[in-house]
Symmetry: C2
Subunit: 480 residues, 2 copies
């Protein structure tokens, strides 16, 4: 009864995807609400997922020569205003500190929505020569954006992220950095989170406030909406000029450097939930799962069972597998439902009969498959299964995207498909903002990305709005 009740208490994802999503965030104990609207608690299980993403990213950042720093959380209003496009983009979302101690402040201070201005101010003080470049900085922190509509992971007023900021002697080097970081994000999405990505460029309309170019990775969720899942910006020398950053090059000439920034946030966890989850709850890709294997002793009061379970735990731990044993007095049925809800990739059961046969039983979270494993091959078999689960989750997500990517010839066709099927729409685009806006107005879709040159077909076609001949491929969709 107890476990049945728990499963039934999640909304069916095909009936109400939004409610299903909220239910999973709550029932899997990822998120807690607070008395401030749009500010969420990342509970231990949710935060542990973020820690695993952090660890994987931080390692890659350091391998590519980046160093971590800590900038203040408050930005004076005058500093934020130094780059015109930037403040225009962020002003509506800023939260302001106006009182410190018992005194009204002379100048109000913005709780950082992003930290370009702080990095620029610092660099204007410490960068002097070509020897100081490149500056390859990153920080892990939280930022505030005073959004009107909020949802767990997808849109918080405060969210955790990393923001990389780099400064380079040449535009080419800065662009290469921007692209390199996007590749790192894509790699993390695909190989850690089992989420296939579309990589490409944002249109001018959709790019970051103050950027010359914004690169993005776009993922398709189970409900066929798009999630922008990490962005990397090339600023040219706009910020550097606004903040008077310059350096003397090898010929002792004063030069203006070129800048990038790039970020990925806890919204990625929302993406994981909406990509892989099902009606039993969360489904976590093994490489990011805080618990990869849950061991459930069956008939645990019988002699030898707990010992055998603990032996399994020890062997898997020794192989760097994140394993937990649940020997609480809850029923096996309750435990099954609990760890399914929490998306643990693999459940391993062991009872008296298994011990007799020198085996255990593994049950895959992704497809429910039951596998008998001889204890002699335990470690190798479990590792193989974890990889198989990752691969299957990736393949299912990719199939969902491929099955729901449609070539369209007109805004009307785009509208009809979007309303019926959802998904990504692919077309040519003439490059005009009017046609982009027309897609929004007439089909209800926004541009997601312009694929990189190597993923462009190169063939000529026509813009679905104005009918002009053009070659550029573009993706459209309804986004979170």
């Amino acid at each position: 009864m107890k476990d049945k009740k728990q499963v039934e208490s999640i909304t069916d994802m095909d009936e109400d995807f939004a409610q299903w999503y909220t239910d999973v965030c709550m029932k899997a104990e990822l998120i807690g609400y607070t008395s401030v609207k749009g500010m969420f608690i990342l509970r231990p299980y949710g935060y542990a997922i973020w820690e695993n993403i952090q660890a994987a990213l931080d390692k890659k950042f350091k391998e590519t020569g980046h160093v971590n720093v800590s900038m203040p959380m408050l930005i004076p209003e005058s500093l934020l205003q130094k780059e015109k496009d930037h403040i225009e983009g962020f002003a509506p979302e800023c939260a302001w500190v106006t009182v410190g101690g018992s005194e009204k402040l002379d100048e109000r201070l913005c709780v950082r929505p992003t930290s370009e201005t702080l990095f620029c101010e610092h660099w204007s003080q410490v960068v002097h020569s070509w020897r100081d470049l490149p500056m390859l900085y990153n920080q892990w922190c939280s930022v505030l954006r005073w959004e009107k509509t909020t949802r767990p992971f997808l849109r918080h007023r405060e969210f955790l992220w990393q923001e990389g900021h780099t400064l380079h002697a040449s535009a080419e080097e800065a662009i290469a950095e921007t692209e390199q970081m996007l590749e790192i994000y894509a790699d993390i999405c695909e190989n850690l989170l089992a989420m296939p990505v579309l990589k490409g460029l944002k249109t001018d309309k959709e790019k970051f406030a103050g950027a010359e170019r914004t690169y993005t990775i776009e993922c398709m969720m189970h409900d066929r909406k798009a999630l922008q899942n990490g962005t990397s910006h090339y600023f040219g020398d706009g910020f550097a000029k606004a903040f008077n950053i310059n350096f003397s090059d090898k010929n002792n000439q004063r030069k203006t450097p070129f800048e990038t920034s790039w970020g990925i946030t806890t919204r990625t966890i929302g993406g994981v939930i909406m990509t892989h989850g099902d009606n039993k709850g969360l489904v976590l890709p093994p490489r990011v799962a805080p618990i990869q294997v849950i061991i459930i002793p069956v008939a645990q009061h019988k002699p030898g069972v707990l010992d055998a379970a603990q032996d399994l735990e020890k062997r898997l731990k020794n192989n760097q597998i994140r394993v937990k044993i649940d020997d609480s007095d809850n029923s096996p049925g309750w435990k099954f439902a609990e760890y399914e809800m929490k998306g643990v990739p693999l459940r391993v059961e062991i009872g008296p009969k298994d011990i007799e046969k020198n085996q255990c039983v593994a049950v895959r979270r992704d497809n429910g498959e039951k596998i008998f494993i001889s204890l002699e091959n335990l470690e190798a078999e479990i590792l193989k299964l974890l990889d198989a689960i990752h691969d299957n989750l990736y393949a299912m997500a990719l199939k969902n995207r491929e099955d729901h990517t449609f070539e369209i010839q007109s805004p009307e066709e785009a509208k009809e498909i979007t309303e019926r099927e959802g998904g990504f729409l692919k077309s040519k685009w003439c490059g005009s903002q009017e046609c982009e806006q027309a897609m929004k107005d007439r089909a209800g879709v926004s541009s997601r990305c312009i694929p990189f040159p190597d993923a462009q077909s190169g063939t000529e076609g026509v813009c679905p709005v104005c009918g002009k001949k053009c070659v550029t491929d573009i993706y459209w969709g309804v986004a979170y």
Copy 2:
């Protein structure tokens, strides 16, 4: 000339310790100033020290069953006011967000100075039964305290820290937790940072706002002032009652749980600087140093030198030693001064003559000693030297404390010694706040800590102020 200039530009620590300290923070590139008073940048080298402290602490927290979470950075004023002593303690230091987006907020939000109230609000929602206890939570974040006087690391308006918050079924368990976490802090100070600590209890006057007991570790700096370097608080059930947290015990009775919190901050880095630094700059204990060994190739243009240096680097890296090679075109003299300023524990030089002799030269940062090392024993010798440096730094700091701890019989004697020598003063104490205040007024010292029972002499003496017979030992000092 160049390297000489760099060394000369630090103030002599015996002439002006405060200026020496600021010079080291700047010249070793630990800290950057910003346009907001009291809000500092932790530059890459400073942040890397914090990352090493974090990693060591986080490992210990997890080994003792704690999990990380993320709470919001903003606290509604009404929530902060729920525990009377707590808000009284923190109100004068709060910074307030009053505007979000373009709208004035209905209720102003405090940027967290500490997060007891947020943890309590959450627990009041999620704790129901004895099965939910203990809650062993921690978060890594920054907090704001609107201090009037600020100094790098020692007193920031925003500082990085961890704050542990735990909830227990019994007072005994909560007290044991409070003491356990203090022991972890003491262990990190002594074994990672080579800083000897005095452990003990704060007086009621000095304890944390809302706490029943505050435990502390106190370190003596090179200038013989005290630094409070980590605190652990036992709250009893005060917060739990104020926030209406309760649980049903095994007999199905409603009970109020007991709470703790404990924190250590980036001020610890200030402590490291002021404990070990010298007139050449920073001196870092090897286990926390971002660079443990700096390799300087000598006559690096000569054939074979760079290869030999890189070979050293590779061998040390393979032994998990944090090593860097500086093959820039700066002079060896400049490099020597640079890495001495940055406090790198060990410098390894290798040049053509060394290669001939199959050796390298190691120079210790702590005492300048020069050691010839046969390349055959490289790894073992370097590891041995790093341990020796740690031990020597610890021993020197301990000697400084022992040489400057004085038993005193009266406030006047305390004043005289403090003005002449500085250091810790030890006496009996009757336990009255009047006598404690008299020590402040008449000797200029504050109580630092009451040693734990196992470090109490147990002998009877008299309170230096009122002359009453008493047995409690206490330490006094001038604190940062």
